[in-house]
Structures are given as C-alpha cells and as structure tokens.
C-alpha cells in the first residue's frame, strides 16, 4: 500500500515523505548515508519526542562543531542535534547527536569540544555505514569498533589542538561522560590513559568555562521526563499535558522506555511519541475506532503486522529506520491519544479486565497548571564563587547540594567570581 502511495506521489510531481516531512534529494539520488541521517533526525523529532529543543544551546554547540570542523577532513561541518537523553553519537549523513545529559556533566567549552571532536572523527573516518544487512557483532566486528573508538578519542586531541582548545580537556571530558565499560569501547581506564598521554598535561589553549556555563544556564537537568512523574495520586505526563488519576492498589512506575501501571493482573503500558508517528500508527490500526474526546482525537484498535514484502529500496530503508521507533507489538490492543505536542500510546495487556481498562482510560484528563508546575524538571542555575575554593566547598549554597556535585568535578578549584552549577530546586 505504501509503495502505491509513494508511486502515486511521484507521478503527481510530489515528493515522498517520511514522518510527515518531504524526503531530501539524497533519498532519490542513492545517497543512503544522508537519506538515513535525515530519517534518524525525523525519528528523534517526529517519532520519539527525544530532541531537546533549545535553539540557543543548539547554536552554541553547532558553533563549537564548526570551529573543530575547520581542522578536520570534512567538506562541511556536521549538523548538531541536542538529544534529550544520555548518549552522544555520530549519526549517518554527517550529523552529530549530543546528549543533554552529557552536556550537563561537562565543565567547560573545551570539554564540550572534546566530546564533539570524538564524534567528528567518526564522521571523518567513515566509521558508520548504512546497510539493510547488518553484520554479525562477532569478534572481528567488535575489534574494529573498539579500534574506531580509540582512534576517535586520540585524534580528538589533535582536533582540539587545531581549533585552539585546551588539549587537557579531553581526559576530563572522557572522565565526566563515561560511566562504565562495554564491549564496543576500549576499557575506560585505557581511554583515559591514552587521552592523558596525548594531552600531556598541557593547559594552553581556550578553556571557556564561563562560555559553557552561560550556554547551559536554564537548561533542564536529569533524566528525560517525557514518561512523566508522580504528583500525589496522579501520574503527570507534562510533555503532553496529560494526567492519569491513580486509585488505591494502582502501582505506577517507569520501566525502561515506558510508564507501567499495574493493578493485580491488569497492566497498562504507555509512552509518548511524536505527532507524525502517532498519526501513522493510528491510521494503520486494525479494527480501529476513532473518536474525538476532550483531550483530543482518540484511536482504538489492534497494532498490525508490518509486512515488508515486495518493497522498493526506499521503502525498505524507511521500514528499517522506523523499526527503531517505539511501537506496540503486532496484535496488541492499543489506545492512541493525540495531543498538540505528541501522541500517547497506551497498550492494554490481554490480562487486563474490561472494568480496570475502562477505569484507567476514564482516569486520563488534562493536567492542571499546578500539576504541570510540580512536574517541571529541575534546571541549571548559575552561582558564582564568593572566594577561591573547590566546587565541593561551594555547592552548599545550592538547593540540592548532592545533585550539584554530580554536575561538576567536586575537586575542581574555582577562583572567586567563577560560575558553578546548581539546580533550581
């Protein structure tokens, strides 16, 4: 069906779309890297609500990337996107996704540049490639991945030098952003040792602590809150402006990428998605019924199987990228609520009795202003050192001193007047 739609659009002179946006010319010219890169960014924006939309911060990080790109083997600077999550990665098509939660832990522009430079090396070295037939993650594949990661760490120091940033920021940035070891990266200790050896304790170059602090002043900190939070007896999904009233014996918690509410054997799993993806899912439901409610358009139905038969190359690629989006398993009963900022997918487990299901659905309402204010995540507020001291000695003025310690190196020595990060609550 989708192939027919694409062909019809092409015949009418229109352009095929992906999640509501016209596909770039790269998709018709066989440039699979750029085409998939475009789709991946649409996934973040229109599929997962996983972009941190702060134009000023994005411009700032983009400027850092532009500065680094001048010394790199790239024809154009990469496009920077701020992800509302932990990870930072080089996406296809010369794009870099920098996680907000990585930025919050950094202490200077040079450290941010170090993180961006690492990803930039992955683009320079063409360490990623798009294939519908992914290789097995065997020993040789993992060895190549680890080599690429080690090279990215080490060459990032050279890119810092070329851009005039302090090379010593590299080991500090790695220390702040790596939590543990995994099989696709060299061990943390090895990475830090290599970066330290190359940086050689050099402290010349631009550090830019004040510049980074200004750029992140007011930035949200902490985990992505799109799954919502409990406010008294209500679960509030602030990003969609939805509240779910909980009754006695309802147990609500975040489990991975979803909100789960249980009551005995009954289970309700919910997750917000972008409007474009919500509309596609609603249109594809089997046995569907649609209604307009006070909260917005509502679709009820069964998640279909997603056939991949007889598809052209572009449709196959679209399906491969779409498979990465949050979505219900085929055959699952779902309720899909569309709100102005996105959609809420609610999966009702087969073990849920009709009474409980209807009670939960009727318990959904628009969140009040008070609830939205209470669900607001903490943000960075800058304070300034009143005397020369270590960060650990200064954060006592912060509303949450423990959290403030997680946002910087506690042993970092600050001069009087230098900024440090607190949260606003």
């Amino acid at each position: 069906m989708r192939i027919v739609a694409l062909a019809a659009l092409a015949a009418c002179g229109g352009t095929p779309k992906y999640l509501g946006a016209e596909l770039p010319s790269a998709c018709s010219e066989g440039d699979v890297e750029r085409c998939a890169g475009f789709m991946a960014e649409r996934d973040l924006i229109a599929g997962q609500l996983d972009v941190y939309t702060d134009a000023r911060l994005r411009r700032y990080v983009q400027a850092v990337a532009n500065r680094l790109a001048r010394g790199a083997y790239l024809a154009h600077p990469p496009r920077v996107v701020i992800g509302d999550h932990d990870g930072t990665y080089a996406a296809f098509g010369e794009q870099i996704v920098v996680g907000r939660r990585v930025i919050e832990r950094l202490a200077s522009e040079a450290e941010l540049a170090a993180i961006v430079a690492h990803e930039l090396v992955h683009l320079e070295g063409r360490h990623t490639s798009v294939s519908l037939f992914a290789p097995d993650a065997d020993a040789a594949f993992l060895a190549a991945r680890r080599d690429a990661e080690a090279v990215a760490d080490e060459r990032a120091v050279a890119l810092l030098e070329l851009a005039g940033y302090m090379p010593g920021a590299m080991p500090r940035a790695l220390a702040a952003s790596i939590d543990g070891d995994d099989e696709e990266h060299p061990p943390r200790a090895e990475r830090l040792a290599a970066a330290t050896a190359l940086a050689g304790g050099r402290t010349d170059g631009f550090e830019g602590r004040a510049e980074l602090m200004r750029a992140i002043d007011g930035m949200i900190v902490g985990p992505n809150t799109r799954l919502g939070t409990r406010i008294d007896d209500t679960w509030v999904i602030a990003v969609l402006g939805v509240a779910i009233e909980l009754r006695a014996r309802d147990v609500a918690h975040v489990d991975g990428d979803a909100l789960v509410i249980r009551n005995a054997k009954a289970r309700f799993t919910a997750y917000p998605i972008g409007v474009a993806w919500a509309r596609e899912l609603a249109n594809d439901l089997l046995d569907s019924a649609h209604a307009t409610t006070a909260l917005g358009p509502l679709a009820v139905g069964v998640a279909p199987l997603r056939s991949t038969r007889n598809e052209d190359q572009l449709s196959k690629l679209q399906h491969a990228v779409r498979d990465l989006l949050p979505q219900p398993a085929p055959g699952t009963w779902i309720v899909l609520l569309e709100r102005p900022a996105g959609g809420l997918v609610v999966e009702i487990s087969a073990s849920t009795d009709d009474f409980t299901r209807d009670r939960w659905l009727s318990a959904m309402r628009a969140a009040s202003k008070r609830e939205l204010a209470a669900a607001e995540p903490p943000r960075v507020v800058l304070h300034y050192a009143t005397r020369p001291a270590k960060v650990a000695e200064l954060v006592s003025v912060c509303p949450d001193a423990d959290y403030a310690l997680l946002l910087d190196d506690p042993n970092r020595a600050l001069a009087a007047g230098e900024p440090f990060k607190c949260t606003d609550r």
């Binding site: 001048r70 010394g71 005039g164 302090m166 190359q313 087969a350």
Partner: protein, 265 residues
C-alpha cells in the same frame, strides 16, 4: 523598503563572526603519528587510516585498520584493492599509506540458476542494499552483504513454502575488459508445501468456527508464513489471545491446528 535593506545589511555586518582561537602546536614525539601521507590515492580513499594523524602510534592497530580500509574499497567496487602502510620519521611518526585500488567493477548481471516459481523480481530486490547501489545490476558487488542477503532470501523461500530450500554461495566472474562482474547464484528450492488440514480444537463450536474464519487459511493453498502470522493476529483477537497454534509437516503438506484456550490469558 531601501531602509529595511540597509538595516538588514547593517545587522549582518555588525554580527560577530564565530570566534576562532589560535591553534596549539602539536608535539613531535615518537609515540605519536604526526602525519599520514597517502600514495596512489587520496585521503578520501582511506579515511579510516587518514584519521590516524594525531593518534598514538600503534602498529598492530594500524595493520587492522589497513585491512578495514582495503575492505571498504572492495565494498565500493574495487574488488582487488590493496592497502599497505609503512613508517618514516617526520614530526613524530609519519605513516605512508600506499593504495592500489585496482580496476573498478560494476555488476553486469545477476542470474539465479533455478526454475522455481519464486517471483524473479523479488529475488533480485531481496539482494539489493543501500538504495540499490550495492548488489544490484549496475551497482557495486559487496560479497559479505550479498552473503547476508542470501541468508534472508533463503528464509523468504522457507516462509513461502519451500521449506527445504538452500542457496549456494554466489559465483562471481570478473570481466576485466568491460569492468563488469557477473554473478550466478544456484538455488535448490526443493518441494513447495501446501496447507493441509486446518482445524480448531477446544472452546465452543461457534468460537472454533470464528477462529477458522479469522485465520483465513484453507487446505490446498500454498503455505505462506506471513499470511499465517496475519491470520493468527486476527484469530487471537477473536479469543482474547487464548490461542495456541501447532503445525505438523507431512510429506507434501503442512497441517495447522488451532487450540482455543491455550494462549496467554
């Protein structure tokens, strides 16, 4: 209007250009790769090695990355590409990367040696990768991706009823005069299975009838795993997920037995 244009020009001129900072001199030490010199090609041919400039010199790692670079060239249509790395003294260590790409080949033809009824266009489409630029006629031949594509094609055969289908490794014939590579792929499809009996057990008679109706499968049809999966989704809705499916493969058919009450609930 002119005032507006003037104002725009002024605003553009007054904006601060993005600040740049003076570069920091890189130290020249024996532990560090100061430069990567590419001979016989360009940095674009071996980007994985080009980015070693500025890294710690690590002989074993460099050899592994040279292998990755050569494979990447082969993936781009240079099946005989070779990459060699030597060292010389410069600012620190200089890597000299010698690239011998060899001739470029495009796929001239892909022939399946079989007479089975699997749709020919679907066979070819199943092999193509990267928006049709790899493992398609006119595209580059990438052996390992073709191997993985053939594994998927074998599964498609199985799903369409050729339960014992096997596909051999492709035979590639390179024509140096035309720069074309011709691929022959032998398929041993074997017997194609039809659906035999479709029965339902358990539950009430009406429920069983509804399950059979929802499955939408009849004896004598070619077996098709996708149609079976779609039918199962429909049938499970009829009975609130309380459905288990059993398959029995006979000599020439597949019998299907739906057991009502055996599922999740």
């Amino acid at each position: 209007m002119n005032r507006l244009i003037l104002l725009c020009i002024c605003v553009a001129a007054c904006r601060h250009p993005q600040a740049t900072y003076p570069a920091i001199a890189a130290p020249c030490t024996d532990a560090r790769v100061g430069n990567v010199i590419v001979v016989g090609g360009t940095r674009d041919d071996v980007p994985q090695l080009a980015v070693l400039a500025g890294t710690l010199d690590n002989t074993e790692r460099t050899e592994r990355i040279a292998g990755v670079s050569a494979q990447a060239l082969r993936d781009r249509g240079f099946p005989r590409a070779e990459v060699r790395v030597t060292r010389q003294q410069g600012c620190g260590v200089e890597l000299v990367v010698t690239v011998d790409k060899g001739p470029k080949f495009r796929i001239g033809s892909i022939e399946f040696a079989t007479r089975d009824e699997f749709p020919a266009s679907s066979r070819l489409a199943a092999l193509e990768d990267a928006l049709g630029t790899i493992n398609s006629v006119g595209g580059a031949y990438v052996a390992d991706r073709l191997t993985r594509a053939l594994e998927q094609l074998t599964r498609r055969y199985h799903e369409l009823g050729w339960l014992h289908a096997e596909i051999d490794a492709p035979k590639a014939t390179f024509d140096d005069t035309t720069g074309r590579v011709h691929l022959t792929i032998a398929v041993r499809a074997g017997q194609r299975f039809r659906i035999g009996n479709v029965i339902a057990r358990g539950g009430r008679r009406g429920t069983r009838a509804a399950v059979i109706e929802a499955l939408g499968l009849r004896g004598g049809q070619w077996y098709d795993a996708n149609r079976l999966r779609e039918g199962l989704v429909r049938a499970r809705r009829e009975v609130d997920d309380r459905l288990e499916m059993r398959m029995q493969v006979e000599s020439d058919r597949i019998d299907l037995e739906a057991i009502v009450g055996g599922g999740a609930k």
